[in-house]
């Protein structure tokens, strides 16, 4: 690692002040620390977010679950008030990763194989930052790209709790990330289907499946659909055609498991 200082502010305002320029936010560090070790980042200073009490914890009001940006995966897993989301959190990485990694870090990083972006997009979540609120549809802009400005902090993610939802992850066994993951949410405004792990564009919605499932929320509604392999990820774990196949299979499983 290159040399850097660490600052541990205790309020969002102090953290926002400290960020910008060559300074970078540090949350659970489960992605950033390996990146620093590989010398792929060289911040002058890391601004740790995990001592900020107002960014931690989970609260629910009016059918909306609000999760502080520095809340770790294990705490979301233990919460249970949005079952599909807690189940998703319970299967991220391993227990030690879940005790450090945070929802803010996960959505800010927008890894194309990460789990939370699929939940946020399918649930129609709102990403709350220190300066504004961004709809998930406008937040995830492509592989490792988001609408965040330099120095902007994800302070919370707000999830409207759907009528029914489920996440199905086909695990890449070495990394435990999603080879393909599909989150299906049946909301009062209709069905939303978000796919992670599959596309060179990162997390995205499968609108053809949404239309079919709006007509009939059953696995058979997907029968006539095919997924194009265009622009899907090709790597040693799977071809684009394999991932295209998995998208449909995992969507079907999520529909039949949704509760």
């Amino acid at each position: 690692m290159y040399a850097f200082d660490i600052e541990c502010p205790t309020t969002i305002a102090e953290a926002a002040q400290a960020l910008g320029g060559e300074n970078q936010a540090l949350s659970g560090g489960q992605t950033l620390i390996p990146t620093l070790k590989a010398r792929l980042a060289s911040p002058e200073k890391l601004v740790s977010l995990t001592a900020i009490a107002e960014m931690k914890g989970i609260s629910s009001a009016g059918g909306v679950l609000s999760i502080g940006g520095a809340t770790c995966h294990a705490d979301v897993a233990a919460d249970g008030s949005y079952k599909a989301l807690s189940e998703l959190a319970a299967h991220i990485g391993d227990p030690a990763v879940r005790n450090r990694g945070t929802i803010g870090g996960s959505v800010a990083n927008n890894d194309p194989a990460a789990c939370y972006p699929a939940a946020a997009l399918a649930s129609g979540a709102t990403i709350v930052t220190n300066t504004r609120e961004i709809a998930a549809d406008d937040f995830f802009l492509g592989m490792f790209e988001t609408a965040l400005e330099e120095g902007e902090i994800v302070t919370a993610v707000k999830f409207p709790i759907p009528e029914k939802a489920n996440y199905q992850k086909f695990v890449q066994p070495a990394s435990r990330f999603a080879l393909v993951g599909v989150f299906v949410a049946k909301t009062t405004d209709g069905v939303r289907v978000a796919v992670t792990g599959a596309s060179n564009e990162g997390v995205h919605r499968w609108t053809a499946a949404e239309e079919a499932l709006n007509a009939s929320f059953a696995v058979s509604a997907l029968d006539d659909l095919t997924v194009s392999a265009d622009n899907l990820i090709a790597d040693l774990h799977g071809s684009p055609e394999y991932r295209a196949h998995l998208i449909k299979v995992m969507t079907g499983r999520a529909v039949s498991a949704a509760s």
């Binding site: 560090g29 620390i33 030690a96």
Partner: protein
């Protein structure tokens, strides 16, 4: 350099660390608590698992500064002061849950965290919980057996598998 203080295995310790000093390096290089092993240094193998404020974490993927003020538990604090092994360590010995022993400190610390939350896990729960702890020697079978024994469960069926 930043000054950090933390409680490690019940004892208060202080030290000066650089921003990029990992908790694992602070334990091993500064405090000579070399029971915490660094296997992969990339948060994959779990050899470096310690507890911070009661939770299992990979000490190769956390900075020492972030543990400032925390309660840290490492493998060195698991046996009694006279060297008597705790239940988990004894079960690993009795059931040959280790061969070279490199992964063992992390295995024992992960097991301690598991049994705190789930005192009587099933075999599947044990295997799932240990997803982040890699062992290159044992093939895991005897590790699982040791953990079932440490949780006071019958292991005769596992022995017969």
């Amino acid at each position: 350099m930043t000054k950090v203080t933390m409680t490690i295995n019940g004892k208060s310790v202080a030290g000066d660390v650089e921003g990029n000093t990992l908790l694992a390096s602070f334990l091993r290089d500064d405090l000579h608590l070399t029971g915490t092993h660094i296997g992969c240094d990339t948060s994959q193998c779990g050899a470096c698992v310690v507890h911070v404020d009661g939770r299992a974490v990979k000490s190769c993927t956390m900075f020492a500064t972030e543990a400032n003020g925390a309660e840290v538990a490492t493998i060195e604090g698991q046996a009694a002061a006279d060297g008597t092994l705790n239940v988990i360590q004894q079960a690993f010995q009795d059931h040959h849950g280790l061969q070279c022993g490199f992964c063992t400190p992390g295995m024992v610390m992960s097991t301690a965290a598991l049994l705190k939350d789930n005192p009587k896990p099933t075999v599947t729960e044990v295997r799932t919980y240990l997803e982040g702890n890699i062992c290159r020697c044992t093939g895991y079978h005897n590790i699982v057996k040791a953990i079932m024994a440490a949780s006071g469960q019958d292991v005769s069926a596992i022995a017969a598998e």
